[in-house]
Symmetry: C2
Subunit: 332 residues, 2 copies
Amino acid sequence: MASRKPARHVSVKDVAARAGVSFQTTSKVLNGGGTVSEVTRARIHQVASDLGYVPNLQARSLVMQRTRTVGLLAGDFSDQNLSRLIVGAEREARRQGYGVLMTSIDLEVSGTEYALPSLMERRVDGILLAAPQMEEDRAVARALDKTVPVVSLHHIAGGGVATVGSDDELTGLLATRHLVAKGHRAIAIVIGPRARRVTQDRLRGYRKALEEAGLPFDERLVTDGSDGAATVELLQRVPAISAIFAENDHLAIGVLSALRDLGKRVPQDCAVVGCDDIEMAAFTVPPLTTIHIPFYETGEQAMRLLLEMITSGSVAPRKLLLPVHLISRGST
Amino acid sequence: MASRKPARHVSVKDVAARAGVSFQTTSKVLNGGGTVSEVTRARIHQVASDLGYVPNLQARSLVMQRTRTVGLLAGDFSDQNLSRLIVGAEREARRQGYGVLMTSIDLEVSGTEYALPSLMERRVDGILLAAPQMEEDRAVARALDKTVPVVSLHHIAGGGVATVGSDDELTGLLATRHLVAKGHRAIAIVIGPRARRVTQDRLRGYRKALEEAGLPFDERLVTDGSDGAATVELLQRVPAISAIFAENDHLAIGVLSALRDLGKRVPQDCAVVGCDDIEMAAFTVPPLTTIHIPFYETGEQAMRLLLEMITSGSVAPRKLLLPVHLISRGST
DNA sequence: AATCACTAGGCGAACGTTCGCTGCCCGCGC
DNA sequence: GCGCGGGCAGCGAACGTTCGCCTAGTGATT
């Protein structure tokens, strides 16, 4: 309650003094190494726990030249998909005894301004990049600069960076195949920003599935879903459409709402399939058929790869794609 | 591409050598202090940037006895509400030049086992606690131990910890008042775990609103929503119920679905109001009236308080409550 | 009795900083 | 001509570790 004095942390020297040995011996004991008699060893451990000794990783890092800490450079933590990735990554790091320093980068300040330097100053052993929104930001690519191993969860302009993600083309393929299998012939696709890799890849999967089924690809069936009204227009323009593939679940929810407004029943009048399997997908009306993306596992794998690169010192830019699968619900 | 050698970071000494001065002088210049001539100053800056000097915060922390890093001990990052808190907190920290070390604590391992020690070893200057699920875990309370300032986003067993949160009683009050104002007399409440503070507080708000309106409190109108079937039973048992206050939006969604199953229309047959204003609330059918909780701002304030405690050295356990407000949508 | 091989533990250095003190040189005022 | 103060820079110490090398004992072996 009263204002305490700084209450200095206890150091090896404190422990040593109390145990009547040199601080180096204490260090040996506490790290399990060296040749020290069983009695002193026990005494030191005793004293250390009595005094509540907590090793100072800062000092250790200084001499060891690695911090056992990785940086996480993420876009928006509150994005549901991203946060699942992060949870997976953090758990894996923890499992291997690493700390995670998080920095979000927002639109105002390009990450290169503040976030990256802040990580480098803290001498992180590696960096996990999870900021899809700056996939094309060349400043990021330049700034990374290979001082430490980097694993990205999305494509990086310029390449040369290890990447872990899911197979987005497969995603589009599975979704569309599912609709084809249900007997649909006029299948529209609602997409997000064209420039994004995900969009491109999922679109490619869609085309591939159509091709497989011998169906023609029609550019007029491709709509940008970020414009709310576009879906409605699409449906009015091409009434034959009996199924819609939305490139992500948020878009799919928009589509569901557009269909409801038009008085169309799902799935009888028009089937809908989404992507990502966000939490909400199970609770829409009707529940959304979607492609499950293993975000949690992706984060885990990415961290595992990063730590592997760190400990092995290798920088070979691998690329890892995790499988996805369809979850069939009421909307198809 | 080829396996590089460790590629040592450049230090003040490297800069100093190249600039022909002592490393201490370099340090002075780079930190803006001391009396150094304009020419040397310029030269040092030049060399530093040529060499790509990045200060080592580990070393600095060692001598300064503070790391400019805070620990974030959180429950589940992927929880939407929690992640909004976190985003707010992280931004505020960044704004003030602090790094954030994140650790999640899961059910398997009590946070005290790994997470806390890991933060203490890294000598964080303070800890932000955001793990509502271990609100009653006395081990946490004991482990915190006041070595560094702590701010919690939820109640801590034993007290004595600064807390920032939102006014949960007000939340329950506003929600229920809204229903009363709409003319409802038989208002049920669906709650989460009784032991949780939030539940208790929101329930209290509910009772208070009833009292204000001169309505009796009836224990039979209180249902535990975690049991899916309970809501259905409740409605069948007491058909007079014309409005339901769900203590959080997830419960509210369950309620909506129960009502749909029973063939009741919302809001005509039964009105529903939730709490939290999760993203999904705007997209349910019908859109959910709910109480908006300023998660982002709460995180921000909590971090601000923590940093204030750190820099001022004060440990007075303040308690801060942020206001909430109702968002009226289609469900009432 | 001198050598040997261990065992137990100490010692100095280094990691990259910050900080306070000292010392030099120069110009100024008396 | 002498002392002095101020501007500039260097120096040593400290922060809390790890690590490799050194030394003082202790039995056992020749």
